[in-house]
């Protein structure tokens, strides 16, 4: 083997080795994180502050702010399906008539910032109660109309009492920049796991990655 080949092969082997160590560590960390997870642990946003709308970052992956096109796609609706006894499709009107919760919560971004807003919506556990997932359903996928964006979660995090399908923010209807008509919001996952522009909630026996998870961010992304 020539010296250059040897060096580049060794460098590649080293990189591959690092990669394996890092993915091993990620798997072990997820194990630890799931062990730490408690439904009784709640996010506490102390004080009365909420982040002004203009200062609340709004990310999406489409080139422009995703807007539901009702003339092309018909009225927006939310499908709750997968391995469930009673799959369900809800109009926005039907969603808002379900028992609602308003919570002032921290948003923890993977970048290191946090923000506070008051979210109004339906607990995911309430929706699960309606569709009755199969005991095999250990994962939930949250899909959106933002250019195929989705993120799958472990069931326990989805069932946390602070995990909402939110349609209201700071006392007004959820606007397009923050994921309207409805989005997932939970302080127990980092921002990138909280699918905006929600269209579909699918209960699944297995995880199926997600937009940012597939690009190398931790799949679990728990707080």
């Amino acid at each position: 083997m020539r010296r250059r080949d040897f060096l580049s092969t060794s460098a590649l082997a080293l990189l591959a080795g690092c990669d394996r160590v890092l993915s091993f560590a990620e798997r072990e960390n997820e194990y630890v994180e799931r062990g730490l997870f408690r439904h009784t642990a709640r996010d506490v946003a102390s004080g009365r502050f909420v982040t002004p709308d203009a200062k609340y970052p709004s990310y999406f992956i489409s080139n422009t702010v995703p807007m539901w096109d009702a003339t092309k796609n018909g009225p927006w609706s939310l499908e709750v399906s997968g391995i469930v006894a009673k799959p369900l499709t809800l109009s926005l009107d039907q969603l808002t008539r379900l028992p609602s919760t308003t919570l002032r919560l921290n948003h923890y971004c993977v970048e290191g910032w946090n923000a506070i807003a008051s979210w109004t919506g339906v607990r995911l556990s309430v929706l699960a109660g309606l569709v009755q997932p199969d005991p095999m359903a250990q994962y939930v996928d949250f899909q959106s109309f933002d250019d195929g964006y989705h993120e799958s979660w472990d069931l326990a995090s989805a069932m946390h009492p602070q995990t909402l399908v939110a349609y209201g923010m700071d006392g007004h209807w959820l606007g397009a920049p923050h994921g309207g008509p409805a989005r997932v919001f939970s302080p127990v996952k980092l921002g990138y796991k909280n699918t905006k522009y929600l269209t579909k909630i699918v209960f699944m026996p297995q995880r199926n990655g997600g937009y940012w998870s597939d690009q190398g961010y931790e799949w679990y992304g728990g707080t």
Binding site: L36, A41, V110, E111, G112, W113, A115, V188, T223
Partner: protein
């Protein structure tokens, strides 16, 4: 003059593992920090960081991108914690904590060391394994480490370990204290490396082989930074 076994192999191994782990932890931590190089909660201001919005120079960071740096940070943290625990357990069981824990007289000895380094005092104060300033630095390091682990847990799990995050004043402050503790550790490490190279480079060999020739000790050389790096002539009055 005698050569002594100065560092147990366990101390040497944990030392170099810590060098690698701390370097990667600091580098990847700075890369993570660069994704939001300030502390204020969105929509609020933060009192106590004058460099808000200015990222750390890339060459000081490690991991390439935010996700990569996080993977390194969350992998290396285990290595560093285990390494630290092994070292501290050894220190306790072997009684070597006595070389590091401050005792009466250390303040006086520290002042004497400072006076010596400032050329106010002519000869190196008498010392044990370490001089009083070294003792202080090596004693502080594990405590800074504990602070780093606790603040790190507080910002990794602000909901699951919310009580801990609250103890540090909330997420924003916990992140700040994590950064401050990192800065302290870097200051201690940079000071340590500077002193090793300019006062006692022979210590590098002893941290590898474990052996140390006492003829080369800073005390025997009256060594200050950049002064008396070579061993001194044996004094005829040596007794």
């Amino acid at each position: 003059m005698t050569t002594v076994l100065r560092h147990h192999w366990l101390v040497r191994v944990t030392h170099w593992v810590a060098v690698v782990a701390i370097t990667i932890m600091v580098g990847s931590g700075l890369r993570i920090f660069n994704a939001y190089p300030e502390f204020a909660r969105r929509g609020q201001t933060f009192c106590c960081y004058p460099f808000a919005g200015k990222p750390i120079p890339n060459w000081l960071t490690f991991g390439g991108w935010l996700g990569g740096a996080r993977h390194w940070h969350f992998a290396m943290m285990w290595l560093l914690v285990v390494d630290g625990l092994v070292y501290l357990t050894f220190l306790y069981l072997h009684g070597e904590w006595r070389d590091l824990v401050p005792r009466q007289g250390d303040l006086r000895d520290s002042i004497a060391m400072v006076r010596f380094y400032l050329f106010i005092r002519k000869h190196h104060p008498h010392q044990g394994k370490h001089n009083a300033l070294q003792k202080l630095a090596y004693f502080a390091m594990p405590w800074v480490g504990v602070l780093l682990v606790l603040t790190g847990l507080a910002i990794w799990k602000p909901v699951e370990l919310g009580w801990l995050t609250g103890l540090f004043g909330g997420y924003v402050w916990a992140r700040y204290w994590h950064f401050v503790a990192m800065s302290l550790l870097v200051i201690l490490a940079v000071g340590h490396i500077f002193m090793v190279f300019t006062v006692d480079p022979y210590a590098i060999v002893s941290m590898i082989t474990g052996r140390y020739n006492e003829r080369f000790a800073p005390e025997a050389r009256d060594a200050r930074p950049f002064y008396h790096l070579l061993p001194q002539e044996e004094k005829s009055t040596d007794a």
